[in-house]
Symmetry: C2
Subunit: 331 residues, 2 copies
C-alpha cells in the first residue's frame, strides 16, 4: 500500500501466513505444489520483491563486496577491475567501489564496510598491507590482491622475462639492454625480470647492459633513450610499455628507424602498446585467471563451503608486434 508490496501483502492476498510464502519462495520447507504455484502467481501479479535490507538482516549477506582501489585512471587498474567484476558476477555479487587516493579515506571506507555493508573486501591498494587491511576490516574477510597467504598466486615475471629474451635472442640479437621496473621490486628484492635477465645473459655469455628510467614513466623512457641509442645495444627490454613508448617517441624525434635500428619489448600490454608506431611487442598478464583466482579465494573466505582454489602460477605471455624484428644490421 504505502508504495511497496511486502510479503505480508502476498500472504493476505492468498489467505496464508507469511512463513508459508517465505518457504514457498525459498524452498527451505515443503509446501504443497498447489500453494506454491499460487504464491508464484500472486508474486507476479502484485509485483512483490523481497526487501533488500530485511533479507540482509536475516541472512547476513548483502551480495556486495568492497573493492579498494587507488585510482581508476590507470589502464591496469581498470582492466583488473573489469575482470574482478566478471569473476564476481558469476557468483551473483556486485562490487562496491572504494576509490581512494589518500590512505586516510581508505580507513574510513573500511569503517563503513565493516558495519556489514559488504560480505567481503578485496584490497588492491599497494600501500595497504594485508594485515593492516584485515585489522581495519574487523571481522569481515579481506583478500589482498597478490599479497594474500591462502592459496598463493604467483606471477612468474622471471619466466616471462626469459620468454622475451629468448625471442630477442632467436631474432639474432646479442646486445640486449634492460630497463628494470621499480614497481615490480618487492620487499627488498629487485624486479624479478632483472634477475632473470642477468642469469640469462650470464648463461649465454653476453654482457649485461642495465639502464634506469626512474618512475617508470613515458617521460623517463624518453630521457634515457639517448643513452640507450648511444650504446651498442640492438635490443631493449623495457620495464613497462610507458617507458618503451618514451623510447619510441625519442627515436621518431631523432629520425631513428624502428625496429630496424633497435628492437623494443615492453611489459604489461597496456593500451598504449597498440598506439605507438611501431606497435609494441610486450608481455601480457592474463588478468582473467588472475582475477578469477583472487575472487575465488575471497569467496572461500566469505563462505567456507566455497572451494579454496589451488595455488596458481601465472606466466606472462609474449605478444609479438612490430617493435621487435630480426637483427639484420650488425655494425
Amino acid at each position: 500500500m504505502n508504495g511497496h508490496v511486502t510479503i505480508a501483502d502476498v500472504a493476505n492476498h492468498l489467505g496464508v501466513s507469511k512463513s508459508t510464502v517465505s518457504h514457498a519462495l525459498s524452498g527451505k520447507r515443503r509446501i504443497s505444489a498447489e500453494v506454491r504455484s499460487q504464491v508464484m502467481r500472486a508474486v507476479k501479479e502484485l509485483g512483490y520483491r523481497p526487501n533488500f535490507a530485511a533479507r540482509v538482516m536475516n541472512t547476513r549477506r548483502t551480495g556486495l563486496v568492497g573493492v579498494l582501489v587507488d585510482s581508476l585512471n590507470t589502464p591496469h587498474n581498470t582492466a583488473l577491475l573489469e575482470e574482478f567484476g566478471r569473476a564476481f558476477s558469476s557468483h551473483s555479487i556486485q562490487m562496491v567501489l572504494g576509490t581512494t587516493d589518500r590512505i586516510e579515506d581508505g580507513r574510513s571506507l573500511l569503517a563503513k564496510f565493516r558495519s556489514g555493508m559488504v560480505d567481503g573486501i578485496l584490497n588492491t591498494l599497494p600501500e595497504l598491507d594485508a594485515d593492516d587491511a584485515q585489522e581495519l576490516a574487523g571481522g569481515i574477510p579481506v583478500v589482498t590482491y597478490r599479497r594474500h597467504r591462502e592459496s598463493p598466486l604467483v606471477i612468474d615475471f622471471a619466466a616471462g622475462a626469459r620468454t622475451a629474451l629468448a625471442h630477442l635472442f632467436k631474432l639474432g640479437h646479442r646486445h640486449i639492454a634492460i630497463i628494470p621496473s621499480e614497481s615490480r621490486a618487492q620487499n627488498g628484492l629487485p624486479d624479478p625480470c632483472l634477475t632473470a635477465y642477468c642469469e640469462q645473459m650470464a648463461l649465454m655469455g653476453i654482457p649485461t647492459r642495465i639502464f634506469q628510467a626512474p618512475g617508470g614513466t613515458l617521460q623517463a623512457g624518453y630521457e634515457v633513450a639517448d643513452q640507450l641509442f648511444a650504446s651498442e645495444a640492438t635490443a631493449v627490454f623495457a620495464g613497462n610499455d610507458g617507458v618503451a613508448a618514451g623510447l619510441i617517441r625519442r627515436a621518431i624525434e631523432r629520425g631513428i628507424r624502428l625496429p630496424e635500428r633497435m628492437s623494443i619489448i615492453g611489459h604489461d600490454d597496456s593500451p598504449i602498446a597498440v598506439v605507438t608506431f611501431p606497435a609494441l611487442t610486450t608481455l601480457r598478464l592474463p588478468l582473467r585467471p588472475i582475477a578469477a583466482h583472487t575472487v575465488q579465494v575471497l569467496m572461500h573466505a566469505i563462505d567456507p563451503a566455497e572451494p579454496m582454489p589451488e595455488p596458481l602460477t601465472i606466466i606472462p605471455e609474449l605478444i609479438v608486434r612490430g617493435s621487435s624484428t630480426n637483427f639484420n644490421n650488425p655494425q
Copy 2:
C-alpha cells in the same frame, strides 16, 4: 556475544535503554550531556558499530547508488566513473558497479537494484533509454547521463569545434579538413562539430573538406590518412584522439613530418593524446563539473531536500600540444 556488539549491549553495559543510546548517537532527541558522554565512551570501549542492514531497514537509505556502465576498458568511461566517485563521495555515497556488456544483464541488474539495495541509479548505458531505465527501476530514482530532462546538461560541442578551428585559422591554416565522429551524432543529427565546421568554413569563405573514418577507430584513421595527405589540406580536425593517432601512425610510417606537413587536432583528450609523437592538440571535456552536475541531479531526485542544480552548459576546452603548429609551408 556472538561476535558483534549491538546497541542493546551498549545499553545494558550502561544500564540505560536502547532508545537512549540511539538518541544519544543520532541527536534526534535531547539526552543529558553526562549520559551522552558515557554513551560515547562505551561505544568506543565496546567497539560498537551500528549494523548496516538494521539501519537501512529504518531509514530506507543504503548510502549506495548503482552505476550502470557498459565497459571499464574505455578511458572515457573510467575517467567519468572516477569523477562520479569523487562527486558522490562528497555526499558520503558509494557506487555499486553495474558493469554490463549485454543489455540483458542490465535488466537483471536493475531488478537487483530496485529491491532497495541502492538509493538511486546512474545510467550511462548508451543503449538504455532514460524512460526504459526509469521503467525498469521501479520506484527508485534514475538519472540517465546526458539524457535526463531535469536541469539539462548541455555539452556545446559546436563551441568547442569553433575554438579548435579558430586556433587553426590563427595559425594560418586555410585548408582545413574534418573527420566527423559518428558517435557524437544524436537522434538523426550529425556530429555537432561537423555542423559548426561547415558554418565556420562558409563564414570564412573556405571550401569544406570532409573525410570519413568509419567506426572512429585508430585503424580507421590510419586507413583514411593517405586520402587526407593526398588532398590540399594543411590541417585536420579529427573526430576523436584515436582517429588522430591513426593519422599520425600513417604519417610516421610514410616519413611525413608532423606537424610541419599537417596540423592535427583530436577530440576528448584521451590518454593516447600524450603518447603519440607529436603529442595531440585536442579538445578536453571538463568531466569534473559534468559529473558533479549529474550527481547533483540524482541527489535531488533521491532527496528533494537536496537542491536541484542549475542547468549547465559545458564548452570543451582546447588543449594545445605539439600536433598543431604555424602553417609556414604553403605549396
